[in-house]
């Protein structure tokens, strides 16, 4: 790899301008992220560009090493790009495969802490937390500890906690990857409902192509090492969709073929 001059990248956050946003919710332009020391570095992301519209449900699929998590970290502002610009309208929040709930706090305590750190005044926190619990259908569970809940319930608390940050962009890093198929199926309905009720912009990373097609308005296919957007599929199947809809299946097959083609490149 020839020496590439990297100018430090930028990430800017515009204040959320209310319901009528002009321009994309997320715009990533020529973003590069390298790991490792100079000389033997590898590109996690190489001049990746993408745009996500406000209120869009955008899924990213890719094999291992496509830099999905790197990209989400950059979007969340947990990391800075080596080159390129990222601009995000409003606040972001991030959900992981693990619920990452704080075990020393109750369900309500976890949500309250998120509200407090988001600067919600004390007087409003109780009502907001109750609303959020109702939103994820865990109304009576506020007093439970995370370990007393099932994996699916924990992810719903994590969703409530993420929504508590009053973000306009919700980043999800394989949030249902560790759940059993029945629970995952029901949570697809749940996240779709919450997304529709809140109008939040979602960037959803997954290994599961069908999941991407089930949920997304658009599915972006990423290449691996370096990560780049190599293809883009619009999902026109009307909602509510099911995982086993024929249209979902056929589009999944198409995207899977495209992904395999990318994977083969690394075997050759």
């Amino acid at each position: 790899m020839s020496a590439l001059r990297l100018s430090p990248g930028r990430r800017s956050v515009e204040a959320a301008p209310g319901q009528n946003m002009a321009g994309p919710a997320i715009s990533v332009d020529g973003v590069t992220k390298v790991y490792g020391p100079r000389g033997s570095h590898t590109f996690a992301l190489d001049r990746i560009s993408l745009k996500v519209e406000p209120g869009e449900f955008c899924c990213l699929v890719g094999a291992s090493g496509c830099g999905k998590s790197t990209l989400l970290n950059l979007l969340a502002g947990l990391d800075t790009p080596a080159a390129g610009t990222i601009s995000v309208q409003g606040r972001t929040s991030l959900m992981f495969q693990e619920s990452a709930l704080f075990p020393w706090l109750s369900v309500r305590g976890n949500i309250n802490l998120a509200l407090r750190l988001a600067g919600v005044p004390k007087a409003e926190r109780k009502d907001r937390a109750s609303d959020l619990l109702r939103m994820v259908r865990l109304k009576g569970m506020g007093g439970k500890r995370p370990h007393e809940l099932s994996g699916g319930m924990r992810q719903r608390v994590a969703l409530a906690r993420a929504l508590a940050q009053n973000a306009s962009v919700l980043l999800m890093d394989e949030p249902f990857g560790a759940l059993d198929a029945i629970t995952r199926d029901l949570l697809h309905d749940e996240i779709e409902r919450v997304w529709q009720e809140t109008g939040i912009t979602v960037v959803f990373v997954t290994h599961n192509v069908r999941e991407g097609v089930r949920l997304g308005d658009r599915v972006l296919v990423l290449s691996s090492r370096p990560g780049r957007v190599v293809d883009e599929f619009r999902v026109d199947t009307p909602r509510p969709r099911r995982l086993d809809d024929p249209e979902v299946s056929s589009l999944s097959a198409l995207i899977t073929d495209r992904l395999r083609q990318e994977v083969r490149r690394h075997g050759a």
Partner: protein, 300 residues
């Protein structure tokens, strides 16, 4: 964007019923147990162990390996314990109770300072690569240093005074607590720290809401070890730095030895031992059990 969280109260749809049903199936069924039966479960093994301890002691006394004025059995010692606690000496009534009270006050004072110093140093070292490289091993080195080795210096620095005793207590306990904090912070699951960052916990908020509570299980182990070191250092300190007209457990031990009073000596030892048990059973064990229950770590 403001989230619209208004929801209508409609009858359960199929989907809602499915989610509710799955939740109902997923909630683990915990066996309910009464408070009293739980307390008894924790209590009777302790009683049994104490009975075994006194029984063994009595057996050794009966073997008459040493004359009874050197190695008395439990009954005369308990008798002395009672007499020291209730009647005391002609000069000082209830001398054992005064001794326990004075010693515990010193312990509490020295321990509180050690916790403060240990926590601050531990947090600083745990979160800074430079400090860890610089003083990480030094803390362990200090911890392995016998308390008695600090005593001569303490006496030179502060004479035979309360300050000298407090000094050795802190030198004994603070490194253990600092090490506990460091290992507590080291064992925080990274995903919790990441979640804290995502939620916007930075600087002081990060320590207050994420790092300290997440490190708490390890911290409690350090606190417990710190207490053990504090209690030992205190006994060493009191044995050497004897302060006039102030009865303490260490002074009691020292006087009993001077008068070759084996029964009295062992009565004081019994007090030291029992206090150790009581503090562990009623403070540290309870604290640890609570944390394990709250975090969902194994048995409650």
């Amino acid at each position: 964007m403001a989230l619209d969280l208004e929801m209508k109260d409609a009858p359960l749809s199929d989907h809602e019923a499915e989610i509710a049903g799955l939740d109902a199936l997923d909630i683990p069924i915990a066996p309910a147990k009464g408070r009293l039966s739980k307390m008894w479960e924790g209590f009777w093994p302790k009683l049994a162990a104490l009975a075994l301890f006194f029984g063994g002691w009595q057996l050794i006394a009966w073997l008459k390996l040493k004359p009874s004025y050197v190695l008395p059995g439990p009954i005369p010692v308990l008798n002395d314990f009672w007499k020291l606690a209730w009647d005391g000496t002609p000069q000082t009534p209830h001398i054992l109770l005064h001794a326990i009270s004075n010693t515990l006050q010193r312990a509490a004072f020295g321990y509180a300072i050690s916790v403060l110093i240990g926590t601050v140093i531990g947090l600083a070292v745990a979160r800074s690569k430079f400090l860890r490289a610089a003083v990480g091993s030094m803390i362990t080195g200090l911890q392995t240093m016998p308390t008695i080795a600090w005593l001569p210096l303490a006496v030179l620095l502060f004479q035979l005074s309360e300050t000298a005793i407090t000094f050795v207590v802190i030198m004994g306990a603070a490194p253990a607590i600092a090490n506990g904090v460091i290992s507590g912070v080291d064992h925080i699951p990274p995903v919790l720290l990441r979640a804290g960052r995502v939620l916007g916990a930075r600087g002081f908020n990060n320590y207050r809401y994420v790092v300290l509570p997440a490190a708490f299980p390890g911290l409690v182990a350090g606190l417990k070890q710190g207490w053990a070191f504090c209690w030992r250092s205190l006994m060493a300190g009191e044995l050497i730095a004897i302060i006039a007209n102030k009865p303490s457990l260490g002074v009691g031990l020292s006087f009993a030895r001077d008068f070759s009073d084996a029964q009295g000596l062992m009565a004081y030892m019994l007090a030291i031992f029992l206090i150790g048990i009581v503090i562990d059973a009623f403070f540290f064990a309870v604290l640890e059990r609570n944390i394990r229950r709250r975090w969902g770590l194994g048995v409650s």
